[in-house]
């Protein structure tokens, strides 16, 4: 099916992109009237089209998931990634095959970005046998060894030590791959994060810590939970470099990611990227998000939407016509509708599955 070939890298060499002149982008931003002028390296048309399509897939997938939750097809917890799409797509555009991805419970976007099938992800959300965990994991617990996606973890902060462990294995095998370890501004306050920072820098493990700062840890704003709200500085006492990135601009994400990944891959140890992003939806489906104003959300959507930025650029700078964009939209919608259809009608797991996958049989001899 259509999504099978994804994890596609954007055509251009990210390294070259990182070194490209930066002045041009600032001009483009200024013309668009974006509030913060940036010096980010521009994308080629192909890169923008790639980013647009990938981000749109996440957006539409998540909207559909929200809708299916409302219909009672998805149970329990469901945390949507809407608004944050540029983070994982920009990171993946800078990564190489073999690099690992691990994240917390807001994980659907990461799975799609890693090239996991929409059908398998959606069917896991509905708890069906065609889901990635055969219906036994749910929204927060999906994995794909094939796509190097290591979950999907429901305990806030646990994935940071685990992701550092993936980097440990990379270091142990010396295979020049990198662990992309994602967590939120909330998890950034957990103790094990700093235990991991310490060991990662001590042993120079190839890990990029991606802090997705969407400004709210569930309902608590960053300023109410964090004594140091500049998360890029959270590794300073260990000597881990960090930077703040406009996480709503996929080009800025790709550029910073290229630097960070190169740092890790070349044996210099961990790197912290604070992605300044925003989630449009509540923490989970049952969160009416009373802790922030509607204006705040509306402003982010209108002025900073990661997908609209790319769409506008495609039209303005690359003269991509409405028809072509609509064709992409239609294709994405088709993938998502197909996934929803599959996830609705796929049977639940066989009852015998209750007692499988608890332990593996040891090899003989």
């Amino acid at each position: 099916m259509a999504v099978a070939a994804r994890k596609s890298k954007a055509p251009a060499d990210p390294k070259a992109a990182a070194k490209a002149p930066k002045a041009r982008a600032a001009k483009g931003q200024a013309e668009r009237g974006a509030p913060a002028p940036s010096n980010v390296t521009p994308f080629s048309k192909e890169e923008d089209l790639h980013a647009y399509r990938e981000m749109l897939l996440i957006r539409r997938f998540e909207e559909k998931a929200g809708q299916m939750y409302g219909m009672g097809l998805i149970g329990g917890f469901c945390h949507l990634y809407i608004g944050q799409e540029a983070v994982v797509i920009g990171m993946q555009m800078a990564s190489k095959d073999g690099d690992q991805v691990i994240t917390g419970y807001r994980d659907h976007g990461h799975m799609l970005a890693c090239g996991m099938e929409s059908r398998g992800v959606m069917a896991e959300l509905t708890g069906r046998r065609g889901g990635y965990s055969r219906g036994k994991g749910g929204s927060m617990h999906m994995f794909s060894r094939e796509k190097n996606f290591y979950g999907g973890h429901g305990i806030v902060g646990a994935q940071v030590s685990l992701g550092t462990g993936l980097a440990f294995a990379d270091w142990y095998r010396d295979d020049k791959t990198v662990s992309m370890t994602y967590f939120g501004d909330g998890a950034a306050n957990q103790g094990q994060v700093y235990e991991s920072f310490n060991m990662a820098q001590l042993w120079k493990l190839p890990v990029v810590y991606v802090i997705e700062n969407n400004r709210y840890a569930m309902g608590t704003s960053v300023s109410r939970a964090s004594a140091q709200t500049d998360f890029s500085r959270r590794g300073l006492s260990f000597g881990i470099p960090g930077e703040q990135v406009d996480g709503m601009d996929v080009r800025a994400v790709r550029e910073a990611a290229t630097r960070a990944i190169e740092h890790a891959r070349s044996g210099q140890g961990p790197y912290i990227l604070e992605m300044q992003t925003y989630r449009y939806r509540g923490h989970s489906m049952s969160d009416p998000a009373k802790y922030r104003s509607k204006d705040e959300v509306q402003r982010m959507r209108e002025e900073h939407d990661p997908i609209e930025q790319v769409r506008a650029r495609l039209q303005r700078e690359f003269k991509v016509g409405e028809d072509e964009l609509k064709a992409i939209d239609a294709k994405v919608r088709e993938i998502v509708n197909d996934a929803a259809e599959f996830a609705t009608h796929d049977p639940e797991p066989d009852v015998s599955e209750l007692y499988t996958d608890i332990l593996l049989e040891p090899a003989q001899g």
Partner: protein, 476 residues
Amino acid sequence: MPIDILMPALSPTMEEGKLAKWLKKEGDSVKAGDVIAEIETDKATMEVEAVDEGILAKILVPDGSENVAVNTRIGVIAAEGEDVNAAASAGGESAKPAASDPKVAQSAPPAAVGEAPVVAAPAKAETGVGSAPAQAKAYDASSEFPAGAEIVSQTVREALRDAMAEEMRRDGDVFVMGEEVAEYQGAYKVTQGLLQEFGPKRVIDTPITEHGFAGIGVGAALSGLRPIVEFMTFNFAMQAIDQIINSAAKTLYMSGGQMGAPIVFRGPNGAAARVGAQHSHDYAAWYSNVPGLKVVMPYSASDAKGLLKSAIRDPNPVIFLENEIMYGKSFEVPKGDDFLIPIGKAKVVRQGTDVTIVSFGIGMTYALGAAEALAKEGIEAEVIDLRTIRPMDIDTVVASVQKTNRCVAVEEGFPQSGVTAEIGMKIMEAAFDYLDAPVVRVTGKDVPMPYAANLEKLALPNIGEVVAAAKSVCYR
């Protein structure tokens, strides 16, 4: 194709709510993600977003309607280019078939959940009350020592070290990490010499951060390496228990069998001597409660070696509980790299006919001591070393109880929800009809471990208590 807008649920338990307000009028064009209405329950207000773009063709449930059932059609969106009026009257030919039959959507998942326990009882179900007790078969441990192998006397400490060294020679993916395991040669010298043989990449001193390095170990295991994580004592593993249980034990299941964690967590567990409550806890019962873990607690040096080697080769997370007092005790151990003891098999270490005494780990010292004392009084106890707590080899215990008809279970851990409580229950399930007396347990006392020498002695089990318990079930 027109698209239905359905009354959404805020949570799986919501059945109905109030349609507070429409934010769009009939005829308005909408885009996916636009907020088109607000709904309310007693708990919260929620926005309804358009799921597709088009024209809001028809509002079917007006502002302020109370008690609107979840999945009711509340409006219709006409797609671009569609005749708005026709769409509105035709009603949504929904893009998602389940929506047109809300009953299916809502009832399907809970139904299966309710049925599952009945339908899918484990193949090897506990023998229920009233079913005929089958004759259990005991595991035969007599041929565990390879024929002709040279037998040497070794301490438990040396046996554990040899087990790790042999497995590290055999498999380059095996490494040891923990506090003081490398340069210091192990806080209890269990890893003595490993750094010298295998180097600092495979014998890794960690900072004092149990939570962090346990998680790093699990992450490395998910990636396919085979870590041995040493805790200086299992008391400190409390800092790391989230990673052990939530990450190591559950990931295989949560991933539908894709990703397991082949990792060994090992170190001394339980009471040493005069170290107080925070350094004396026996965690056998805690870990034994968790599906997805194997829990091993050896007594002798040969079992320590053979079981640790099996644990390192096992593809699952294994909790390997040692004991500081046992480290220096010597036993006969067969030489040879292929000496393995299977996980999940108990061992009859003393044959007897009058009463079964079952224990594990350091508890075996009380069991064996009591058997000797009882023999002098003409009571022949059969003594079983469980060796593995999970999966528990209850068959070997039951086979013995079917012969002796009496059982005493012994452990150093606390009584409530302890391993001996589990043994007693399992015997009742599998061999109730064979019992001539209730199963009796001898455990650590239900108090935090005291420091004072006299109190500490009282808090732990002793041979006299086991003898008294055995006599009581023999009615002597």
